[in-house]
């Protein structure tokens, strides 16, 4: 690949055999022991702490086990129970996808729109972009507690309810985090709020990396403004957009620290997502086997989702180029 370009530009024509020989010289030849010394410490740690736990999790997902006493092998009974006889599981899965949906269909497109506007109208974008980005670097605990205080009832100093009173909209007041119907949306809003700046930053950087001469060429052909965005920015941004979508999807599947901090899955499981359900089952109800089954399911969904999104975007990519 590196010398593929050389072949087409006459001054740099290189005999391929020469290149291969040079490359062979270039790369260090070392004994297996040296390689092991470089690779094994990290690889072993990594395999022991990431892959083996996943395997253990797959195995203990087939156990009836409370973590302390004897365990009993029950095959796929945990999964059967999960899919057919767990009143929390399906709603939790639904909410997980609700969060992912909001993130992918609302947050990421808004971020793209804002990123396009910034790159068009703002001459010194650094301040704006880094201000939007600020919430991203804060701990979820701090974000969660901050928003908990914001969502508090007005009598406890909550900002939103106080604003509503100030606007005379008392009837819109809710106790945002304790009403089952509202709570999940209140949590989703916080999640969208925190990571909006991240997606703006990613896509803004992507737009910045589109070569300027493409726009200039388009300008000569009469494409400017939103027309240029439609035919240049959008197709060129697809790979970066994909990254945003993958991140937001995987992030939503995994995002339970915010939920643990803000509601713990309550009230009455109204904000439970898959991972918080897993956590509560494993660590509060002490159903280790069952919790492991849910964890395994989560890992599986994550892998599958990454593959599907990649597949979809490969097709999209092909259509545009």
């Amino acid at each position: 690949m590196a010398y593929g370009r050389g072949r087409h530009t006459p001054p740099f024509v290189v005999d391929e055999r020469d290149v291969k020989e040079a490359e062979a010289l270039n790369v260090l030849k070392v004994s297996g022991w040296v390689i092991a010394a470089f690779v094994l410490p990290c690889l072993l740690l990594y395999v022991c702490l990431v892959f083996i736990p996943i395997l253990v999790s797959i195995y203990s997902g087939m156990l009836d086990w409370n973590g302390i006493g004897a365990s009993k092998f029950i095959g796929f009974a945990n999964y059967t129970k999960m899919f057919t006889n767990d009143s929390v599981f399906w709603p939790a899965l639904g909410r997980t996808f609700l969060l992912a949906g909001f993130s992918m269909l609302v947050q990421v497109p808004i971020a793209l729109f804002v990123a396009i506007l910034i790159s068009r109208y703002v001459r010194r974008p650094n301040f704006l972009v880094s201000s939007y980005f600020l919430p991203v670097i804060l701990s979820v605990v701090i974000i969660g507690q901050l928003w908990k205080t914001i969502y508090n009832p007005a009598s406890m100093g909550g900002m939103i309810n106080q604003i509503l009173i100030g606007l005379g909209l008392d009837s819109w007041m809710h106790s945002w985090l304790t009403e089952p119907k509202v709570a999940i949306f209140a949590v989703i809003l916080v999640s969208l709020w925190q990571y909006l700046g991240y997606h703006i930053l990613i896509q803004f950087t992507g737009i910045q990396n589109i070569p300027a001469d493409i726009y200039e060429a388009a300008k000569i052909d009469g494409a400017e403004g939103f027309k240029a965005d439609r035919y240049i920015t959008l197709p060129m941004i697809v790979p970066i957009f994909k990254i945003s979508v993958v991140l937001s999807f995987i992030g939503s599947l995994q995002s339970f620290d915010l939920i643990m901090v803000m509601t713990g899955g309550g009230p009455a499981h109204a904000t439970d997502v898959i991972s918080s359900h897993m956590y509560n089952m494993s660590f509060l109800s002490m159903k280790y086997g069952y919790g492991s089954a849910i964890a395994t399911f989560l890992v599986f969904v994550c892998l599958l989702a990454t593959l599907i999104i990649n597949f979809l975007f490969t097709r999209l990519d092909k259509r545009y180029s």
Binding site: L28, C42, V50, P53, N126, T149, M159, L196, A295, T306
Partner: protein, 293 residues
């Protein structure tokens, strides 16, 4: 003749276009302003909140500044909340993790990008595969394993998985960079009789400082803020890191609103200070971390 016809006709068009753009531009700036308020005002609100007395907070004037700035809240937060202990624990865990990640992943990245061996790409693939595995999937088995090994409720039980979960992206970033270092460096070093370790330590590592900084930033942000593992694997008060400490403080002092606000501000402060100093580096690093898939 023809020119004098064209110019008056063209002018209004230009003027109209300019005006059209400026309306759009104003709209865009209004949007930017709204976003700036929504993204920053909650944080500012927290800062003001943290200086109010309980009465002021409950009185309902969310917009007002406090009558007098209640530093007492901060005194309470620091005294009652073991802030310094949490802070030093966070510093300790984060810095050891950073050193570990840099050390281990740069070795692997060096081997993948500069050695000639059969399984380099396989190793890379293993790491890439791991990036898709969610941390929570390993929570329960890790806890069981750590309990059996006897390191549950120590800092080691945090540092080890932190390092493991940060290495894939670190290896990815570092090996990507190391591939681009010209090979002449090594050739001349070999001629001079330098060994592999020598080449790694005194030639490749110094050149790789920029991507190492990126990895440092990513690791810092991720580990400094990590909450779930910290809350699951560590239970003794004197080992807690800052995010978990904030959580415990809030649940303990649930009615002292001002002190909670103050503690949240203190909890956010280290990261915010670093962000002010290194904003551009951090945003670049986070993008580099995102653009891995």
């Amino acid at each position: 003749m023809s020119q004098s016809v064209i110019i008056p006709a063209a002018k209004p068009v230009i003027a109209k276009r300019l005006r059209g753009y400026s309306i759009k531009k104003t709209m865009a700036w209004i949007l930017f302003g709204i976003l700036l308020v929504t993204q920053l005002y909650p944080l500012l609100w927290l800062l003001i909140y943290s200086f109010k007395t309980n009465e002021e907070i409950l009185s309902g004037s969310f917009f007002a500044f406090p009558a007098n700035w209640e530093w007492e809240n901060y005194v309470n937060a620091v005294a009652g909340g073991k802030y310094w202990s949490y802070l030093s624990n966070s510093l300790f865990v984060t810095s050891i993790t950073m050193v570990g990640v840099i050390f281990l992943s740069s070795l692997v990245a060096f081997a993948i990008s500069r050695f000639r061996w059969k399984y380099g790409q396989v190793v890379m693939l293993v790491f890439l595969l791991g990036m898709m595995i969610p941390m929570q999937g390993t929570l329960l088995p890790l806890m069981v394993i750590f309990k059996n090994v006897g390191i549950l409720n120590t800092h080691l039980s945090l540092i080890l998985p932190y390092i493991a979960f940060q290495t894939p992206i670190a290896v990815f970033i570092l090996s990507g960079f190391m591939k681009t270092i010209p090979h002449e460096i090594e050739e001349s070093a070999i001629m001079d009789g330098a060994g592999v370790f020598r080449i790694f330590r005194s030639m490749i590592l110094p050149v790789s400082i920029p991507p190492i900084m990126t990895v440092c930033i990513l690791t810092f942000i991720n580990i400094w803020n990590e909450y779930i593992l910290a809350a699951t694997f560590v239970s003794s008060e004197k080992l807690k890191t800052l995010p978990f400490g904030v959580y415990s403080f809030v649940s303990q002092y649930s009615v002292n609103y001002g002190a909670i606000g103050a503690f949240l501000v203190l909890g956010a402060l280290p990261v915010i200070v670093i962000y002010f100093l290194l904003a551009e580096k951090i945003t670049k690093g986070m993008v580099a971390g995102a653009v891995k898939g």
